[in-house]
Amino acid sequence: MIEAKNLTKTFGDITAVDDISFSIQKGEIVGLLGPNGAGKTTTMRMLTGFYDPAMGDAIIGGSSVINSRQHVQKMIGYLPETAALYSDMLVSDFLRFIGKARGLDDNKLQAGIEKAVASTSLEKYFYRPISILSKGYKQRVGLASTLLHDPSVLILDEPTSGLDPNQINEMQNLIRQLSKEKTIILSTHILAEVEATCQRAIIISDGKKVLDSSLDDIEKLKEGSHHIQVVLKGKVSEAQKIYANIFNGNNESVETVSSDSSETRLQITSSMKASEKVFSTAVENKWIITELFTEKLSLENIFQSLTGGK
């Protein structure tokens, strides 16, 4: 459905996107993952025909975005970053404008608006000016506007940025719903978001693709190393030694983060899920655990492991 071939974009002497290729099958939902400034937005802008690639091409639904830009744009629903909207308009007028601009006739437009408004729950705000809507609702209006022409491909640039946790949840549910009938590519810099919605992740960093794999594989990557923090009540000076005896394999370590009369804080790195062992050892030694948590591997950690820790 989407075939990116050696996409490259330069701005002056800065290479924003450097030779990125990937292929997305019909019905897939793929996360484009990377820190800010990695080239996610530029990649999406090339897919949507906003930028011409300096090199390479993108084939969407069998058509080249360079040679038949308008045709490709008809197939795509695109939500730009921070859902830029014409805020002087009413929601209803805005959706009508977008539908007309997409060349829908009156019947299709009416049906498209009804469906899009229903799936984004915008009924209550249909006749409100966009300028008074909250960030979350603006984002929904943006999403609704991408659905009017029932596109087969949705390209969503940071669809949850700036939303509060409830709104993020709703947006993710919406995206999951939509993924039943559409091919979706969304960008984010939050790993958890990809886990919540996507089947596959393409990680880019510094304009280059560094990983393209299913989420299951990424899970395994994350299992490669675990950081556990455990806090024991009081000063337990022998704890470090006892744990160090248990976690003594390769890539395993036990460090004392802090230790005083009220608590002892240890950080344990292990290659497996070790929290059970940490717990049972504490019970055997009659230590009182006040805190025990597994540190989630951050995107940065994954990058480090992917790019050789540079």
Partner: protein, 246 residues
């Protein structure tokens, strides 16, 4: 499905035109512009040309006021057209729609022309006043308005181009004011005299000089062609600088 000319779809131009034109009235700004323009033209005419004191129902000076009024009015009308889209990011929305750049440019250009037409209509009060007390030459008035419209269209295409070059409406406004003011000065007789042998060239490039002859009722197709070429040139420059961005 719709009329096409050189691959340009009228429907697409129409969609952009409608949005842009309504935008002038979605906020009070459009009405404020209209009020200020109408007020300015009336003051310039009735006060500065001392219409009542002169005792002659002469409309020559009326059409001369447009040259000056446009220095402020046209930049106010065009400053927003691209700059606001670039600032708010909606440019990305517009350019990822299956609408060609030419269609977007023309839609915006025509919306400003339509707004100009509304503004010109709002000044009809002046010739109507004159008609009450005297019997003006309606052919001359018609010619004057046609000239004012064409002069405005030339300035609008220039203002539209300047609006593309910046994200900031104020910057777009100031540059357009400056450019129109220079073109206005070029058409003034004392300035032209000071140019010496360069006078014919300067006069040829001056928008207000071409307008002068039109507004005096000298309906010369060369002046109309000048204004249309002027518009076409800036619309084309606008198109080129948009495609260069990509």
């Amino acid at each position: 499905m719709s009329a096409k000319c050189a691959g340009i779809s009228c429907a697409n131009v129409g969609v952009v035109f409608k949005r842009e034109f309504l935008n002038y009235f979605n906020t009070p700004i459009g009405f404020v512009f209209l009020a200020i323009f109408s007020f300015m033209i009336n003051v310039l005419f009735f006060v500065f040309t001392q219409f009542w004191e002169a005792g002659i129902a002469n409309l020559d000076r009326f059409f001369a006021t447009f040259s000056l009024g446009y220095v402020i009015f046209i930049p106010a009308v065009t400053m927003r057209l691209w700059a606001e889209e670039k600032r708010s990011g909606t440019i990305e929305l517009l350019f990822t729609m299956p609408i060609r750049h030419e269609e977007a440019i023309l839609g915006k250009y025509f919306s400003a022309l339509a707004f100009l037409a509304v503004a010109l209509a709002s000044t009809l009060f002046v010739p109507l006043t004159v008609a009450v007390i005297a019997d003006p030459d309606w052919f001359l008035i018609f010619g004057g308005y046609i000239g004012a419209f064409f002069m405005g269209s030339a300035y609008i295409s220039m203002g539209l181009m300047f609006s593309w070059l910046t994200k900031d409406q104020i910057v777009a406004f100031l540059f357009t004011v400056l450019a129109i003011f220079v073109l206005y000065l070029l058409g003034l007789e004392p300035v032209l005299e000071a140019m010496g042998s360069l006078k014919p060239i300067a006069a040829f490039f001056s928008v207000s000089w071409h307008y002068e002859s039109l507004s005096r009722g000298l309906f010369d197709s060369r002046d109309i062609i000048y204004f249309i070429s002027f518009s076409a040139l800036f619309l084309y420059l606008n198109y080129r600088s948009i495609t260069n961005r990509r």
